[in-house]
Symmetry: T
Amino acid sequence: MLNILVLNGPNLNMLGQREPALYGTQTLDDIIKELRERARSLAARIEHVQSNDEGVLVAQLQASQKKFDGIILNPAAYTHTSVALRDALQTITVPCVEVHLTNTAAREEFRRFSLTAGACLGQIMGFGAFGYHLALIALVNYLKSALKSGQSAR
Amino acid sequence: MLNILVLNGPNLNMLGQREPALYGTQTLDDIIKELRERARSLAARIEHVQSNDEGVLVAQLQASQKKFDGIILNPAAYTHTSVALRDALQTITVPCVEVHLTNTAAREEFRRFSLTAGACLGQIMGFGAFGYHLALIALVNYLKSALKSGQSAR
Amino acid sequence: MLNILVLNGPNLNMLGQREPALYGTQTLDDIIKELRERARSLAARIEHVQSNDEGVLVAQLQASQKKFDGIILNPAAYTHTSVALRDALQTITVPCVEVHLTNTAAREEFRRFSLTAGACLGQIMGFGAFGYHLALIALVNYLKSALKSGQSAR
Amino acid sequence: MLNILVLNGPNLNMLGQREPALYGTQTLDDIIKELRERARSLAARIEHVQSNDEGVLVAQLQASQKKFDGIILNPAAYTHTSVALRDALQTITVPCVEVHLTNTAAREEFRRFSLTAGACLGQIMGFGAFGYHLALIALVNYLKSALKSGQSAR
Amino acid sequence: MLNILVLNGPNLNMLGQREPALYGTQTLDDIIKELRERARSLAARIEHVQSNDEGVLVAQLQASQKKFDGIILNPAAYTHTSVALRDALQTITVPCVEVHLTNTAAREEFRRFSLTAGACLGQIMGFGAFGYHLALIALVNYLKSALKSGQSAR
Amino acid sequence: MLNILVLNGPNLNMLGQREPALYGTQTLDDIIKELRERARSLAARIEHVQSNDEGVLVAQLQASQKKFDGIILNPAAYTHTSVALRDALQTITVPCVEVHLTNTAAREEFRRFSLTAGACLGQIMGFGAFGYHLALIALVNYLKSALKSGQSAR
Amino acid sequence: MLNILVLNGPNLNMLGQREPALYGTQTLDDIIKELRERARSLAARIEHVQSNDEGVLVAQLQASQKKFDGIILNPAAYTHTSVALRDALQTITVPCVEVHLTNTAAREEFRRFSLTAGACLGQIMGFGAFGYHLALIALVNYLKSALKSGQSAR
Amino acid sequence: MLNILVLNGPNLNMLGQREPALYGTQTLDDIIKELRERARSLAARIEHVQSNDEGVLVAQLQASQKKFDGIILNPAAYTHTSVALRDALQTITVPCVEVHLTNTAAREEFRRFSLTAGACLGQIMGFGAFGYHLALIALVNYLKSALKSGQSAR
Amino acid sequence: MLNILVLNGPNLNMLGQREPALYGTQTLDDIIKELRERARSLAARIEHVQSNDEGVLVAQLQASQKKFDGIILNPAAYTHTSVALRDALQTITVPCVEVHLTNTAAREEFRRFSLTAGACLGQIMGFGAFGYHLALIALVNYLKSALKSGQSAR
Amino acid sequence: MLNILVLNGPNLNMLGQREPALYGTQTLDDIIKELRERARSLAARIEHVQSNDEGVLVAQLQASQKKFDGIILNPAAYTHTSVALRDALQTITVPCVEVHLTNTAAREEFRRFSLTAGACLGQIMGFGAFGYHLALIALVNYLKSALKSGQSAR
Amino acid sequence: MLNILVLNGPNLNMLGQREPALYGTQTLDDIIKELRERARSLAARIEHVQSNDEGVLVAQLQASQKKFDGIILNPAAYTHTSVALRDALQTITVPCVEVHLTNTAAREEFRRFSLTAGACLGQIMGFGAFGYHLALIALVNYLKSALKSGQSAR
Amino acid sequence: MLNILVLNGPNLNMLGQREPALYGTQTLDDIIKELRERARSLAARIEHVQSNDEGVLVAQLQASQKKFDGIILNPAAYTHTSVALRDALQTITVPCVEVHLTNTAAREEFRRFSLTAGACLGQIMGFGAFGYHLALIALVNYLKSALKSGQSAR
């Protein structure tokens, strides 16, 4: 059984209400519920944390080292401004996949650059809530390959 | 009766002590007290929150959707760095007025650009504590026009 | 009785016709008429000048030194390009409030930077024609405080 | 009969004398005279104004709304510096064609960017005085298509 | 049966030989063979084209309009330099997913910006050859949702 | 009889289908057909080549030296990225007019700068398909003047 | 007895585990323990706070005004992004020394600029944990000089 | 007898009142009066024009071609923003010396770059009103050398 | 016998005709003929390919891996724009020398930066056609040293 | 008697030989000889030093504090690169006038910015060797005014 | 006994006289004398060199390789401009500590970036002359740790 | 017999010791000795000067005018910072070839731009010590062609 941390940044608790034309009408609870089902079918277990607080997100990443096999991270607004999250990602060795609901390459200039992506395994963006499913599939695939080849992941 | 949230960002709790030549000698409590009186005369009620914490400010903006008719926001230092506050402002539909005590156009280069102003109704800066009063007058005027014309504000 | 100069820059004579979705449907005459009423209630008198000409605006600011207690300035397009207006503002000691009808922070990149605001008392933007009323209230408040404390304004 | 305003900016009154290797030896009067003949053959009438003054040019554009079907504008030096002309162009709905005598793409760096072109129908540059003829042909063609399709031009 | 075009840009024909530490040891043929199997299990059919030629890639995108339900595109080096590919993507209405084998956010500065991503549905990067599988899953999911809701995809 | 090469860059073969709101509904064949008629009336003959391939466009320009009196070039996407086309234009002495269907000054930032225009006689943009007609008129006028004054064109 | 606040920013609680090649193998507890011994020998007393939270760090700086004679601050990731910490430092008059474990001048581009250093007495970087000792020696030396000369520190 | 035009830009009519610490206490009339005396001793005659208006300054430069042997120009604020003045200077062949009262290299960033200086003979700055005297001496010296060598000036 | 690929980019087929003042009057055939003679004297054999096509040049580099001991590359215009050529150079292990006929440091700004040079052994520029001879001498010297020291080249 | 140091930077010893079209045909000795005569007529004495060495120039400025009443400095190439010369100028209180033979505003981009001018009294450029005479006149005038007003110069 | 080179750059020989408000009133001799005493107490010996000359400083660094265990370097103005000093630091393996008397982060923009710091062990700034003492303590501590662990320093 | 000056900049006297992985293990003496042999075989004579001092290098270039037929210059660190060397190169008419041991295009950002190359005949980089041989061959070839065509070199 693989343990996966799903970590969501600021304003993602508002999904369903937040600019629905951009972010969709599903709530975060709905998304996580569907994701848990997917996880089960992949022999994985999900723990979900959302916070609007940079410090809390940093602490969650730090604590993941001992408890999780992989991380799915949507840093939301902190993607573009948080050196602290980048440092936290480099502090741990748990592999992480960055997810964005929207295609940030088609939005405002200041959303073009991700400080955190360079410290992740990879990045998935533009597929709405389904992006979390893709990230989960990617992570499970990665962890199984790593296991198979006898090395620790990342 | 209009319900207005007054939201103050980092270091504004230090007013009176903080670089008085720049920010004046009144404490934040004094300012809010005077503002409440002004509010009463305008048939409005004020709730005041100050926080040094970006996450707390984001949460306050999110929660305002159901409880307030308008917001007066002084994001202080986060004006220039917080995509999270901008996203929170775009998540809600409550109209918001940005206030700065000082005239930031006459200060350091890094205070010239506001990430949050573009997601607000308007901005008032340079009038010290009286700026909050101007913001309140602006907000009440805006909300009454909106009411009169039968549309929801913003 | 306080004497206030209201000085409007290029294309503001076209209000009512000019991109009404952005700038509203009121004409400049309507706005000034309402502002005069507000002024009366605040024991102030308004003189209004509009010009499309940078040189004329500079001359008006220069001449204000002897005739006015305060200035409300909407430099319009010259906000972003006129060092001459900034120099004129620094030449005089009459306090000035900068007003913009729209929230320039939500518009084109080249409208982000104001050359003139740094030479003013403060700036108010995004409240349409009501911005002039807020500027008047701000100016009167400022001038009265200055009078009370026995110092000349600014 | 189509009424066309030809509006020329600063230093174009010096044509013939001004850097003839770059701008040619014809005077502005010669150019306009030939253009009037072309106009006649296209069932159009030309009114010509030249000014070195940004404010006068702005006023001419404003006034064109009621009197002209189209505008040919050579903003000369103001092309690169005048937000006021751009705003004036956006204030009116008369279609405008921007003309430059020289190919500004082959000149100094500061002539590369046009503030006004984005508010015009199109731009023609590099063909000397004949550029005005091309602009006239373009404008007449555009206005006739608009007439034919029953919509107002632009 | 969904028809998917897999389009690979310059130097991807060298996979297996090209900087294996970065790009892996599988050849492009191996990758496509595995991807076809995945496609079959998802009721999709894959057509694969690789070219080192910008013009050929542009033509393939243009031709896809009539023949394919979706596109998986790895523009490789052209990601960062080709306005022509971006224009081709905007010319067609077939939904496209951009894939990168490596995590470009962790590489050279000039690989940070994608000209093409803004004209795609979304982007997946950093998962090696498995990225194509994720793109296929994403595309099939997107196309089925579109079908279900009765609208044409994109 | 003047021989004119009309050279069209990438994605222009898709006219009619490509973002019709921007580029119009006429196909390239329709445009060229109408242009041939115009040419005939001006005692000119047109040869038309469209290619999505930078190398092919470069070769066409090189070959034009011996076969054509003038060139009408719409480099499309390559306008902003091709030093090779600029070099080809500087290699030959046949005069060239650059045409753009849309007014690129009113579009994305990366379409503002033309690498090729500085190596052309002039540029015409924003008049849709009629821009080719204007370019033809400009070119014929230029070639006749050159002939008249007994010098070779350019 | 001098009271010194040692304030550590995000991810410094992970020392020992965090990229040991860069940051060393000592834990933060070990470092502080050794620093307390040094403090004792210098007639100083240390209070230590670490937080991953920008708001908490701001609050600690604010509260230091009444309780401490000096501050040793390692803002870690917030060095490069926090206007709030800079404002807090300018709010208080307690002298502060900025410390970095690594030589940031030899690391990533985004670590080159410190927003906070300009509001400190000085900065020490590149000496690992020993940097805290140097900062303590610097601070005690500074405070004693200030005492001797009868002025309040800073 | 040499005829020299002294041309002063915006806000220089305010000398004596304008930021006296920077610009001195002499009025423009005083300065010109002293300059006329100097001119007499150098067998030169001065005509003086001051204007706040860019267009008027442009016209004065244009008209100087037939009436003056040399120009002393203080473009003031327009130094940094006026392409029109630069173009006017390049239109005429009368040699011009640029003067600034203050040392602009020691002032705000936006005063560092002069658009006009590159079209002048030379530039003198930082010597207050005496700078006009230096410019006159420089101009007379230049004109006499030109005369002596039998070539027309510039 | 060493096998050397000489690969020439766009517009180099026009040598002799192309801006002779800059590029000389020799044709590419002349240059290659002379280079073959030099090669013979150095116990090397040359194969020459010129293409205007980025994709063809990429393919030539890819194919060189199995057939050549070294490459002399003049990427011409693609020097400054082709990530694809850089990637191709990094894909192969054959050592490559970059040659430019002109001294690009003395030409237009956009010719200053080479995307490809960083993936080559070295660069030679400014010596006209003789630069190819220098490159050949450099390459032969390098390959012999590598042979002598028993390691494979590069 | 006023003692003036004339300090010339690198390559000025080559005057007469160095790009005579730009710098004139007089040698430095000729220039200084003429300047000494001018000095005598102004009751001043000149000491002249030329060096190609930044360190020597720095030392000369340092030593001037005790020996000279004023400095005429032509930093030549070091104008644009030497923080050391700027620091030396700020170390001393002797007033300094910066001179350039050519009008640097009309030359290469990298000659536009002067690091040293901001630490001088003023700057004179573009008048060839006569610029030294102007600087001397300016310096003597400044020193006499300072003497007259009883304050030490600068 | 450890041998330490103290190397001071341009204008530091002027300490005591040079802007005393910024740099203090002690002379360099005083500072070095006190530093020698500190050195003695730490079983170290100091050799001191000051030069205004970049080349001399480079040579001193080069020569240090054979004679010194560590270096304390205040590059002064050359900090921001000397690639030569950086290269010299990278040429030797003697560990070096960079010292600045002032807090350069609180001064002019051009003092923000240090070319040399990235080639040093660490940097200490803002503590006036005491900074040299801190550097010495840091260096001795570093050298002893290196000795203890049996590896050569750096 | 051709006289060639070989001029080497700062830190090149340390070759053999300086970062041998980058710069090789040969000393400068070894390199020059081998180069003299090469020179002899080409009927040339070499004079060699190395200096760490910008001023000395400038003086050497100046003095070369009368004594040398050509120059081989490795400006080392001064390549990127010395306007003085560029000016010296433009002062003389002796042709110069710039050499770099390493391929600077593959190193730090600040080594990308050469201030001096634009004033040289050409540049050779990346071939280690053999680069000097290539430069000598290039120079001799250039000088002989110049001789043959009867014009003075450069």
